[in-house]
Amino acid sequence: MKVLIPGVAGRLGKLVAERLVANGHDVIGIDRRAFPDAPAGVEVHEVDIRKRGAEDVFRRVRPQAVIHMATVTHLVRQSEDRYRINLGGTRAVFEHSRAYGVEHVVFVGRHTFYGAAADSPLFHSEDEPPVGIGSFPELADLVAADLYAGSALWRYPDLTTSVLRTVYTLGPTGHGTLAMFLRGRRVPTLLGFDPLFHFMHEQDVVSALVTTLEKRPRGVFNVAGPQPVPLSTVIRETGRTNVPIPEWVFPSLLGRFGLPKIPAGALDHIKYSVTVDASAFVQATGFVHEVDERGALRAFREAFPPAPPGASTNRAR
């Protein structure tokens, strides 16, 4: 099968391309970033998904399936540009897919879609609306891209659309929001709060995407693997140091003393749980994860061992 991957040069995109090539598929990648270490056998086009060149690739290659991974998720990059990539890029992917005979589009979204709040339930199901945009406006473009992708289900009924909301990924490449948050030796938490974190090993995410390509489930699906665990467990099992900080001093400490910089709206995501019910996806595809929560944490820890004390220039109290 010919599979086109917009956003192939990302860490997860590369893993997906490798797996698809190994499974005997023809993989064509689009990315505006250079991709010098592209896996052998992957045809790469260095072009912005929103530009004419990307449409040319669709026209010439005529892929049967598209896995859309060209969304910017780094919340530190807050700019007009990000909005345009996430929304304009998603629109381009669906329009080109319809115009050039693509049979199946997979949109790779995130479980943070549902937002974090004190009164939001554990294990969100797909029919729940997003509640977090009010407190975390940085998420708005990702939420909008997700809903836009979902609208393809009724706008383009001939096109099979799978909108996936995957939990955090963790693994040896250090891909993803959670991995970025855990990168340093010290991880800040809110004193008195210990939300559940839902994550899965990056190779299981790849398996979920490949399974989606094979089974072509139509609709919106949460994708998860093992059960969620408390943030304190995540920090301990990855060998990090938990630095509980009272909420009122938290904003002024971020980005200092070796603590990661995260937007103020993201505080709710380390205060309240965001977990999903992925049973619909399992039912539709038969997906089974391979790595349990401890395995994923161990894989991250082995790839990113905590820096020895003193390695960072700032010492936290």
Partner: protein, 288 residues
């Protein structure tokens, strides 16, 4: 940060017997943690077995396995009733069962309180949580009087306030038996003479109960928990209000009867209930 508290050996043993899918770290999918249950039940054991004089009747009516809802009255200005019912399920059932309470929503916003309640199995009181717990064949503890019930004053301690209908609809939808129970003595342990609403608002809670000794510290009173026979209501949970209200009234009536029985027991009018008594449902030897 890992602080270890002493855990009683009986509690440790019973934790191992809980039929809950804990992972290797002792955490279940809902975030319930053995590391929190251990110290919590160790503390509860002291109150359950030594501090209060707790009399339990009819615990054999609680199914040993499978989904079930324990539905009872509120008694006492703080969650003393829920704590003792959960202790009774943990220490008097064989194998022990973990009773999941539905925590008041305001707790979720309070540092430590949200963490402690959640790790001990008391999720925020949302219908979604109740359904998911029952779908996993857990034991749910429900107080249909809600916060209105805990706000009862000393003189109102044996009365029942308005019951919501949600619990019956939930039981019908989830095909779950209801085990009604009465809790007596909470009002004596924590005699509320007033509720400080304004002070509560300042602290982010609905109210602060005020006792003759000002704070809501319980005195070592006699407490009675009387469970009765399971009640099952057929249906989908989407029936008209009048259908559901009739079922709610039946549960409420049963609980009111149980309270009456409990009062007679406490007065010493009857030594022990028998199968032939007016409330045959509660029959069973007294466990103390």
């Amino acid at each position: 940060m890992r602080v270890s508290f002493p855990v009683d050996s009986e509690v440790r043993e019973r934790l191992e017997q809980l039929e809950i899918p804990f992972n290797a770290d002792g955490i279940d999918p809902f975030g319930v943690s053995k590391a929190y249950l251990g110290p919590s039940f160790t503390l509860l054991k002291f109150f359950f077995r030594r501090y209060f004089s707790v009399h339990t009747l009819g615990i054999e009516h609680v199914p040993q396995h499978g989904r079930c809802m324990l539905v009872g009255n509120h008694s006492g200005g703080i969650a003393l009733d829920a704590a003792m019912v959960s202790a009774s399920q943990f220490f008097e059932m064989n194998p022990p069962r973990l009773a999941h309470g539905m925590a008041e929503r305001f707790l979720g916003k309070i540092p430590f309180a949200s963490q402690l309640t959640h790790r001990c199995g008391h999720l925020t009181g949302l219908p979604e949580h109740a359904e998911r717990l029952l779908a996993q064949d857990r034991l749910l503890m429900v107080f249909p009087e809600g916060a209105r019930g805990t706000a009862k004053l000393f003189k109102e301690r044996y009365s029942l306030v308005h019951f919501g209908t949600g619990f019956v609809r939930l039981a019908m939808k989830m095909k779950t038996p209801i085990v009604p129970f009465a809790f007596l003595g909470g009002g004596e342990a924590i005699p509320t003479i007033a509720n400080a609403v304004s002070l509560g608002k300042l602290l982010g809670v609905p109210y602060i109960p005020v006792t003759p000794w000002v704070v809501a510290l319980p005195i070592p009173a006699r407490l009675d928990i009387i469970y009765s026979e399971p009640m099952t209501f057929e249906g989908t949970g989407f029936e008209e209000d009048d259908v559901v209200l009739a079922y709610v009234d039946r549960v409420k009536k049963r609980i009111a009867d149980l309270i009456e029985t409990g009062r007679r027991l406490r007065r010493g009018d009857v030594a022990q209930l028998t199968n032939s008594g007016p409330h045959a449902g509660v029959a069973g030897g007294a466990h103390t």
